[in-house]
Structures are given as structure tokens and as C-alpha cells.
Amino acid sequence: MTIDYHPVAGSFRDPAGFLFIHDGAVYRQVNRWGQVDYDTLMESGLYAALVSAGLLLPHEEVALPAPRPESAYRVLRPVQIPFISYPYEWCFSQLRDAALLTLQIQKRAFDFGMSLKDSSAYNIQFYQGRPVLIDTLSFEPYHEGQPWVAYRQFCQHFLAPLALMAHRDSRLSQFLRVYMDGLPLDLAVRLLPWSARFQSGLLFHIYMHSRSQQRYAGATIAPERAVGRMNRIGLLGLLDSLETAVKRLRWREDVTEWGDYYDKTNYTAAAHEHKKALIAAWLEELAPRNVWDLGANTGVFSRLASARGISTVAFDVDPGAIEQAYRTARLDGDPNFLPLLLDLTNPSPALGWHSSERQSWLARGPVDMVLALALVHHLAIANNVPLPRLAEFFSHLGEWLVLEFVPKEDSQVQKLLATREDIFVDYSQSGLEAAFAGYFAIEKREPIAESCRTLYLMRALPYRV
């Protein structure tokens, strides 16, 4: 008996198994090749320990026919992650939390006689507001004396980018878009300030590590001869040192463009409250299952949705805003809110092998509702995107659109126009409505109190999404 399925494009490297999608849900086939590792994970008590601590995504074994029965051992149905995100979309603290999670899991695995065979940042996802390991097949029995095979990957995927973000600039996380297997350590060495080598963890795991890589690049090691060279205490010392190195790295408290946006806004308190009330009412009325908030800043309005139990992803181009959004939500323990870094004028493309290993941003939609609050003027005026193109773009993202229109007379738009010629003849309320009419039906149109702004509720025409 066979089933309809298609394999998840990013899941092909590990012979122990692969992910596939069947009937809209993600499943994992465990191959017989990975049988021993999987059974050891389940029977050693490690699986139960990690799941009860919230460190590993739980799964259940299901009776679904395997898509590739000739190699199959088990079929698993993991808990479904509402939105898959990638390390180049995370802020500093998200990557740091993911790094600390990986080390914590590796230490727990040792207690149960197992070890992580890889430490890819792509194996971590944010679920219910916290990072969690999603790859059940990342574990192998630990043989005393064996080095940690995932050490190099940990340094490249986590330590090097975090060091650059902390010591240079948080925007350097974007290197992860280019280097899919993490930042090459020799590159990190060239980019880090000279003073970074005074931090012992970075000296050991980046500088000396990089030198060693260069010096022994032409050498090969017979795996069986590497075993027995390293004792357990040495490995625990290595992990402890990595953990200390990561914990010492701190977010640079840069003054960001938008970080204090809500303090600088031209809104009165009444306008702010009125806007909140309108959005809250529409959320209650339409009860969307998921929401994307575009240009979300620190997520004040996104959290109107997440507070109602709606799975909400907040996107913003500013790392400072996303950092603040993540920290606030983590402190509040909001399980439905995920803030991510995204430049709407150049959203995450499809990347990796066959240009399909990592999904593009658009491919991860559509959603039930999109919020575009005080965003259109940035795209239309600061980035010269014509209004009809904006309308078409939004129509691909979701069925419902909550859009705030900020007219030319608003001081925020005046600021954008202050240093340039006003070539935007169509940028007006009537121009907006005309441009969107081809893609959306305008359901509601509410002027925001004590402001010249208008909040729209629009519904994509049926053939669009």
C-alpha cells in the first residue's frame, strides 16, 4: 500500500530518515539505517527526559504506510510547527537561545550515553515561544573516547555568527543566508575585532580552531583511530567552555532606527487606543487561525492577535525591534508570537540545494490575515513601489488584509518627502482604493480618531489567494 506524499526538500542528507508531507501534515520516516540510533533514543529515557523538559519536539509513532517501505523502520508524526523560520531570520537572542539549547541537549544526551551527531541551527525551530530541537534523528550512541563530531558545525552555525553580531554588528547575521553550513571560521577571524581574541572562548573555539583547520586542511584522520583519544571530562570541559563563550556574548545596545518608534510616533494616546480597539474587534469578528504582521516593529499590534490564541508572526527589517519584541514576549511567556527579521523589499528567497532546501518567505504563506499598519508609505514612497503592485503583493499573502493608510499630510510621510521630489501623484486615499479594487473588496473603512489616517479591512477577491 502506498500513500500520496511529497518529501520535504531540506531533508535528504541524513540516511537515517527523511521528512515528508502527507495530507497537509509533516511526517518523518525513520529508515532501518537509523533504527539503532532511534531505538536507543527512545529506550534510554533520553527522549522522555528531553520532551518533558521542553527541549525536543514530541512525536508519536503512527501506523501510516511508509512512503519508501523498502528502507522504512518507523513512521513518526511530530507535533506540527506553525511557522518554519531560519537562522538568518532570527535576532541575536533567538540565535543565542538556540545555541544554548543545543549545548543543553548535548549535555543531557551524555547523561544517557548518547551524543548529537550534528548541531545545525536549522534543526532548531521556535515552538510556543521557545526554541526546540526538531530533529529526532540527530542522536547517536556515544562511544567513550570519541570526540564531538558536531563541534565544527556548532562553532560555524552558532558561535562565529553570534561573536560577529556581538562584537561587530547584529546585521552580520545575514551572512547565514550566504553560508548555509555556517560562517567559515577563517572569515570570522578576519571580520572580528582584534580585541575579540582576549575572550578565551573565542580564542579557543574560533581563532585557534580556525588556525588548526588551515594547518591540517590536507590531513585525514581514520575515524577508528580517533576513538579513545578523548575522555569524558575533556568533552564536558569543552561543552562548558562553549556555553560560557556563548553566554558572555551580549546584544549590542545600539540605538536603532525604530527601536523607540512608539515613543517618537505622532500618534496621540487616543488615536493609538482607537487603532488597537478597531484591530481587536476585527480579530474577534473574523477569528483568523494565523496572522502575519508586516512591518511590525516591536509587535505591539501583533500581540493583540497572539493574545487571542492566534498563531502570529511579526516581521520587521530592524534587528533592534525584533530583539526587543522577542525579549518582551519571552519574558511574558507568549506562546503564539514569533518575531522575525525580514526585509519586505527583499524577502528570504528559496535557498540551498536545488534552490529548494530552505523555503522562500512567500512559499511559507498564505495566512488567514495580514496586518500592514503604517507600512504602505514606506513601501510606496521610500521604496518607490507603485500602489497596484503593492495590492497584488498583499493579495498573495492572505485572505484578509488590515491596512493602515497614512496620507501625504501626515508628518511621517512629510518626513519621507522632505528630501526628495514628490513624484507620487497617485498616493492618496482615492488612489489607494482604486489600486486595491482590482485585488481586494473593501469591507470596512474607519478613520482613526485624532489623526488623518484610515484603517481598512479588505478581503482578497476569491481568485487571488
Binding site: P147, H205, H209, Q213, A217, A226, G234, D240
Partner: protein, 68 residues
């Protein structure tokens, strides 16, 4: 670098002379060197914490003792 020459000692006989690009080799070898150093440091740290914990408990017990 002096530290890196330590790798040669620790890895005696581990390296094969076959020229083959294996970016993992250097990572394996530095791990052996670092583990030797950091393992010792880790033991010192663990025992130091135990000693500190012992005296902290001792102090606590004394202050908890109504007869003290």
C-alpha cells in the same frame, strides 16, 4: 603557534599523510588539545563549586541553629 604544536604531540600517529581535503581534521585535532586543557579546568571548577557549596551549607547550618 605554540598551542598548535601541542596538537602534533597529542595526535601522535593520528594523522595520515594522505593529502585529502578534509575540513574536519583540524576541528578534530583542536578538540583533542582543547579537551585536554578544558577538561582540567572543568574539574577544578566543579570541585571549587563543591567546596564553596560545602562551606555555604556549613555557614547556613550554623546560622539556622538556634543554639548557635
Amino acid at each position: 603557534m605554540i598551542a598548535l604544536s601541542g596538537i602534533s604531540i597529542l595526535s601522535g600517529g593520528l594523522l595520515s599523510p594522505t593529502p585529502y581535503l578534509d575540513p574536519g581534521s583540524g576541528s578534530y585535532l583542536i578538540q583533542l588539545l582543547l579537551a585536554a586543557v578544558l577538561g582540567g579546568a572543568f574539574l577544578v571548577k566543579v570541585y571549587w563549586q563543591k567546596i564553596k557549596g560545602f562551606f555555604r551549607n556549613l555557614g547556613k547550618r550554623k546560622s539556622d541553629d538556634p543554639m548557635a
